[in-house]
């Protein structure tokens, strides 16, 4: 019976790692004139990642209007971005811990519970 836990966790790590890169770029460019904040639709990307079997993933980046553009056309709202980063890194941490637990369980099974 195929176990989907590992696959879900792997894709979850992929998507959150990718999202972290985008959110990092947003903070880095919080003062760049004309820069528009970027993000991915987390739920949709995870769904499509689960459906595809390819190792290389492609993501759809969109530009959320988190705030009105300021005078120089920048749409980065630092509070919104920091909240997203906290959410994203917690999700990533959760996935790594679940993966560790899963591997511990497998190890335990291999050793016959000893």
């Amino acid at each position: 019976m195929p176990d989907s836990t590992m696959k879900i966790l792997e894709k979850l790590l992929d998507v959150t790692a990718y999202r972290q890169r985008i959110l990092t770029s947003n903070i880095a460019n919080a003062d760049t004139p004309g820069y528009r904040a970027k993000d991915i639709d987390f739920q949709r990307e995870l769904d499509s990642a689960m459906k595809s079997d390819s190792k290389t993933m492609s993501y759809t980046i969109y530009e959320p209007m988190t705030t009105l553009p300021n005078r120089d056309g920048n749409t980065v709202n630092i509070e919104v971005e920091m909240a997203k980063i906290a959410e994203n890194s917690l999700t990533y941490t959760a996935a790594t811990q679940l993966l560790t637990m899963k591997l511990r369980m497998m190890k335990s099974a291999i050793r016959g519970g000893v």
Binding site: I27, D31, T32, T100
Partner: protein, 135 residues
């Protein structure tokens, strides 16, 4: 593997850009009363230009292509005894407004902090990934 450390690179470019901005602000405040420069004339307030550049579609760094001089006029103060006074007795002081510089200083140092926080967030994430092998 190559893209694994991209977030750290992106944050590092932002840290450097904000540091240059801090240096510029420091120069402006230091020269708030410099009535003469090597080029002649009073000091002119300097400002940085931020520009983003792509590492790839997800990672966008930031750099400073050039530092521009503020073209606003300086303030004229009547000081006939000053060596740099013009024939009417007015001295042209730099167009630096110290309060404005302080506001920019706070913005720059907060932006610097935000990017430092991101570096440590990513470092934590990476350490957690390495922890998967400790089963």
């Amino acid at each position: 593997m190559k893209e694994m450390f991209l977030p750290l690179k992106v944050s590092a470019t932002a840290l450097e850009a904000q540091k240059i901005r801090l240096n510029t602000i420091a120069s402006n405040v230091a020269n708030a009363s410099s009535t003469k420069t090597a080029d002649g004339g009073p000091y002119r307030r300097k400002d940085v230009l931020f520009r983003s550049f792509l590492y790839d579609e997800s990672s966008v760094g930031v750099d400073i292509p050039k530092i521009v001089e503020d073209q606003r006029p300086g303030r004229m103060v009547f000081e006939p005894s000053h060596p740099d006074a013009d024939k009417n007795g007015y001295v042209s002081y730099p167009n630096v407004n110290v309060i404005e510089e302080m506001v920019n200083l706070m913005a720059a140092s907060r932006a610097y902090e935000a990017n430092l926080t991101l570096i440590s967030t990513y470092k934590d994430m990476f350490t957690k990934t390495l922890g998967i092998t400790n089963v």
